[in-house]
Structures are given as structure tokens and as C-alpha cells.
């Protein structure tokens, strides 16, 4: 059996796995966006906190994904939850870092004129800082999403589901077409996500 035959005959189960993979990535990035943007905004108010938070995120990113799953496994067990926690942790760094730099890069004169117009700090944050930082934040979300699509494939090993299952089952049963189908679908998903989010980023930049 070759890859294409396999992909056509099994299209229903492949579709199911793709949706599962997408769901895993979407949920993880969504949670990371909510936490990451809030943390990113908070740390712009304190230099010490920003160094602390960014260093922790940097170290977390360096840890190999398989090792992270290994660390979490004894505490959270096999399954969806462990995979989810690992994915959220990995997607935090790019989002926190980009929110922080995006807000930090706004020229002081803009903020001063906003305050001069009598805007409250809340207004400045929501009307000036966040909108201006949006393209940079979006770039962070893009990096996080592409990375998490890859890590979600690894998380299949600990039972989180998704397209990685094809690769792992294919390896253990020595069915190359299954491995290839998994590798191809995951790659397509990552490249597509990169293109679509890149397009969104560009749109935000123009505005």
C-alpha cells in the first residue's frame, strides 16, 4: 500500500485525527494567549519582574519537549491533560516576550501625548498600547502556533491524541505509509498555519 492509497481509503479516520490535532493546538494556544498577554502586560510595569519572567520562559523553551512531557507525566498521568499543560507552557514564551517587546517599543512621545490628552492609564493601555503592539503580539502567536503543532505530534506518544499517533503506530507496526501520512499531514498543517497567521500579521501591520 502506498501513502496516497492509505490516505484515500482512511480519509475518515485521518480527518478525525486532524481535527483532534487542530483542537489540541487551538485550545493550547488560546489558553496561552490569555495568560501570555496578561503576563506580558503586567511585566512591562516592573523591570525586575520582566527579567524574572522572561528568564523563566527562556529556560522553559530550552528544555526538550520530550523531557518536558517526561517531567509532567508522573504528576498528571497519561493522556490529554499532560499534553495540554506542556503545549501551553511552550507557547507562553513567544507570546509573553512579544507582548512585552511590542508594548516596550512604543515611542514615549505617543504615550506622553495620550496622557496629555487626559487619558487614564487604563485607556492608554487599551486604546494605545495594546492596539499598537498587536502586530508584534500576532507574530508571537504565529511562532507559538507553528511550534505547538510540532510538539502536539510528540504529545501523541503520551496519549494526547492527534496526528502524531500515525507516526508512532507506523513505527511500531513498521508501516511506512502510515508514518508518511502522519509526517505529511503534520507538515502541511504547520506550513498552512504559518502562512495564514503570517497573512493576518501583515494585515494588522498595514492598519
Amino acid at each position: 500500500m502506498n501513502v496516497f492509497e492509505f490516505m484515500i481509503t482512511r480519509r475518515e479516520s485521518l480527518w478525525h485525527l486532524t481535527v483532534e490535532h487542530f483542537y489540541l493546538v487551538f485550545l493550547a494556544v488560546l489558553i496561552a494567549v490569555i495568560i501570555g498577554i496578561i503576563v506580558g502586560i503586567i511585566i512591562t510595569y516592573s523591570y525586575t519582574a520582566s527579567v524574572f519572567a522572561l528568564t523563566i520562559c527562556q529556560v522553559l523553551m530550552t528544555v526538550p519537549s520530550m523531557a518536558m512531557l517526561g517531567f509532567l507525566l508522573p504528576f498528571f498521568g497519561i493522556g490529554f491533560r499532560t499534553g495540554m499543560i506542556a503545549l501551553v507552557l511552550y507557547s507562553l514564551l513567544p507570546i509573553v516576550r512579544n507582548t512585552y517587546t511590542g508594548i516596550r517599543e512604543i515611542p514615549n512621545s505617543i504615550l506622553e501625548s495620550a496622557y496629555g490628552m487626559g487619558m487614564t492609564p487604563w485607556h492608554v493601555l487599551l486604546r494605545i498600547q495594546v492596539p499598537l503592539a498587536l502586530p508584534v503580539i500576532m507574530a508571537g502567536i504565529r511562532t507559538a502556533t507553528v511550534m505547538v503543532i510540532g510538539i502536539a505530534a510528540i504529545a501523541s506518544y503520551i496519549g494526547a491524541g492527534g496526528l502524531g499517533e500515525l507516526i508512532f503506530h507506523g513505527i511500531s507496526r513498521t508501516q511506512p505509509y502510515r508514518i508518511l501520512a502522519g509526517a505529511i499531514l503534520i507538515s502541511i498543517m504547520a506550513v498552512m498555519a504559518d502562512l495564514i497567521l503570517g497573512w493576518v500579521e501583515e494585515r494588522l501591520m498595514v492598519r
Binding site: 523531557a67 517531567f71 510540532g150
Partner: protein
């Protein structure tokens, strides 16, 4: 001066020493307290050392070969003759980088079969990408005026490359190498799935026999390795920027 010295001491000696101490302490601890015969069989000094050696060897060989291939290709693409295909190659490299590491390993596994060599080849190809991209971007981002001035002073193209372009692009190239090494250490833990050994073996075996201490040993050692290499390369990068 004093401050400079203190920062150097901290960067080059203190942090690496702490990380190494942690790794050694952890190894000694788990070998002496494996908590069961099953774990005791996996966690002996020779076996842990073998996994570590396989892992380091995989990363080292693939990264050195990737630097050897990525930097020259990156330089070549910035030469006037190849500049037209530079953009195209850059785009291909960008797409290549979005492909997940597990997918790359799996792809080469189906073509080249199991084993250490397949893993090294896949890692090599995967780590060329950031190095090549950063070499290209680093040289292309130099202001044309600087290079023109160098030509105007009568420097040969080779001189311009060696004395102007490479030194100015060095920090960017080093950043690419650092990215490649960190990704590489992480991907090497997945090499266990294609039968190439490494610290991933400990993690995977630990998961399949349900012994958290084996998982923890493999995970901690590979994490420490990644953080240590990242730190050392960061130090080199900083020194180059400073000088």
C-alpha cells in the same frame, strides 16, 4: 573592570559549574537510590554514560557538519552571482523550518531505515536551516556603504569577506548556531523512536515500564544538557558582540 571580571566569572564558570554539579549530583543520587530492581538495572553509571555519550555525539556531529555546510552555502548565496536565487532559497528554508522535527525524523526513517546514521543525517539537515538563514541574513543586513568603502580602499573581495562581512555578521551567525544546537538537543531526544539511542531512550523506557525515576533521569539530563549548551553559546555570542 571589577564588574566586567565578575560578570565573566559568573558566565563562564559559576553557571556551568552549577549545571554540571546538578547533573552529576542527580546521576549519583538516582544510581544509589533507584527504588526497585527494574530501575536499578537501567540506572547504572555505564548505561547512563552510554546514553549521554550517544546523545552528545549525535548533537555534536550533526551540528559541526551543519556549520560546515550552512555557513559556506549562506556566504555563497550573498555573492553577486547567486544573489538572485538567495531569496528563493530563503523562502524554501523558511518553509523547511516550519516542518516539525518529529515529521522530519519520521520522513527520513521511512527512506533510510532505523539507526544512528539516519538520526544524524536528519538532525544535520534540520540544523543547517537556521545556520544558513542567519548567515545569509547577517551578511545581507550589512549596509552597502560599508562594503563599498572597503572596495574603494582597494580591498579584494576575499578581504572584504574575511575582514568586513564575516566579522560584522558574526553575532547573527552565532545566534543561528545557538538556535540550531538547542533545537538539535531537543530533536535528539526523539531519535530514540527511530532506534538511534540517546537520552530519549531513558524517557521512553521509563514511560513504557512506568518508572518515573527513569523518566526523570533522562528528562533532567537532556534538559540540563540543552540549558548548558545554550548558556555557553550565549556567552560566546556576547563576547563576540563585546569585542
Amino acid at each position: 573592570m571589577m564588574q566586567e571580571l565578575r560578570r565573566k566569572w559568573k558566565g563562564w564558570i559559576l553557571v556551568p559549574a552549577i549545571l554540571l554539579g546538578l547533573a552529576i549530583g542527580l546521576t549519583v543520587y538516582v544510581v544509589n537510590n533507584p527504588g526497585g530492581t527494574m530501575a536499578a538495572r537501567m540506572l547504572t553509571y555505564p548505561s547512563i554514560f552510554r546514553y549521554l555519550r550517544e546523545h552528545v555525539l549525535m548533537v555534536l556531529v550533526s551540528c559541526l557538519l551543519a556549520i560546515g555546510a550552512g555557513v559556506p552555502i549562506g556566504i555563497m548565496l550573498t555573492r553577486p552571482r547567486f544573489r538572485s536565487i538567495g531569496r528563493v532559497v530563503e523562502n524554501i528554508v523558511n518553509v523547511g523550518q516550519t516542518i516539525p522535527s518529529l515529521a522530519i525524523l519520521a520522513l527520513f526513517f521511512t527512506f533510510l531505515g532505523r539507526g544512528f546514521n539516519t538520526a544524524v543525517f536528519a538532525l544535520w539537515l534540520y540544523s543547517i536551516l537556521p545556520i544558513l538563514r542567519n548567515t545569509y541574513a547577517g551578511i545581507m543586513s550589512i549596509q552597502p556603504g560599508i562594503i563599498e568603502a572597503a572596495h574603494g580602499m582597494g580591498m579584494t573581495p576575499l578581504h572584504v569577506l574575511g575582514r568586513i562581512e564575516l566579522p560584522l555578521a558574526y553575532p547573527v551567525i552565532m545566534a543561528g548556531v545557538r538556535t540550531a544546537v538547542v533545537i538539535n538537543v531537543g530533536t535528539a531526544t526523539l531519535a530514540t523512536f527511530i532506534g538511534a539511542g540517546g537520552l530519549g531512550d531513558l524517557i521512553v523506557t521509563g514511560i513504557s515500564v512506568g518508572r518515573p525515576i527513569i523518566i526523570f533521569t533522562g528528562a533532567a539530563l537532556s534538559a540540563i544538557l540543552a540549558i548548558l549548551l545554550d548558556h555557553i553559546l550565549g556567552q560566546i555570542e556576547e563576547r563576540l558582540v563585546g569585542s
